[in-house]
Amino acid sequence: MATASSVVFTRVGLRRGNRAAIPLLIGLMPFALVVGVVSQGKGLSLLETLLMSALVYAGSSQLLALELWADPAPILAACLAAFAVNIRMAPMGAALAPWMDKLRGWRLWGTLGTIVDHSFALGVADIRSGGKDAGYLMGIGVVLWTAWILLVGVGHVMGGLVRLPPGHPLFFAATATFVALLVTLWRGLARDLWPWATAALVAVAALRVGLPQPVPLLAGALSGAALAAWRERRTP
């Protein structure tokens, strides 16, 4: 474990983070292209798409907000979608406290702003193996953030060239991405079957009785998470 007093933030750490991020780009690319294509399909301009990717920089929530998109833009629904998907990142910053506590100013608030699932996982692994250079996290973040903006832009341009009609099979890529992400989140029948099934059933039931989005989504997510939390605390 890193002793709090020895944590540093150096150029060497930044570069080490840059290199650690390169393999992650393979997984990032199809996701970013899908977000770009869907964004184009929903009528967002290239500038609006780039702006969203740079400022929000959270693929799942961007994709989810775009699924709910309408004209005029659904401001409240987009914010709720961002909250529902991204609240999972709140405990991540807290878990990185051994490094964060030693940072100040732009290094602290900038590093927190670049947290994504992958950089969090690599950062925690580095802290646990005795890493003391907090620049590592921001080094990963900068590469992923830059690549994210560029690749979403490429996806938008591709979507514009192809002019896909609504309902084209390519738009299934958005759903397919989440189906595949579910597989990566799966931790086994005993832990996940009932919470996930509850989430799916509650969400579809809420939609069927006519509740507007994102109510069915949040009702499903929260009921499933509540069941999972209840089961976890019941079994020691």
């Binding site: 595949a180 579910l182 996930w196």
Partner: protein
């Protein structure tokens, strides 16, 4: 290039909410420890959230997308390759739709 006010406001709102999730967690959770049940719920949200999303999406689409989703699960499970899984899903929809309608 087009930048509409309603779209800009939605983007800024999403950006503020997302940044609050990223940085606010560190700021708040270090000072105020949430009740254990809320803490456990926060940790368990991702799976149920994506399960609800997928169920909603598939309930609005035809049976060819349900089979395609199964193909995506199988591909991701066997290969662990996100890009390949997405491509398999799209190809499955394209191939099955003429057979199953939709």
């Amino acid at each position: 290039m087009m930048l509409r006010l309603d779209v800009l406001l939605a983007i800024i709102g999403m950006a503020l909410v997302t940044y609050a999730c990223r940085a606010g967690g560190y700021a708040v959770l270090r000072v105020v420890r949430p009740p254990p049940f809320i803490d456990a719920m926060l940790r368990h949200i991702p799976g149920p959230l994506f399960a609800a999303y997928v169920a909603l999406a598939l309930s609005n689409m035809g049976p060819e997308t349900w089979l395609a989703a199964a193909a995506v699960v199988l591909t991701q499970w066997k290969t662990g390759n996100l890009g390949l899984s997405i491509v398999v899903g799209v190809l499955a929809v394209a191939g099955l739709r003429p057979l199953l309608g939709g």
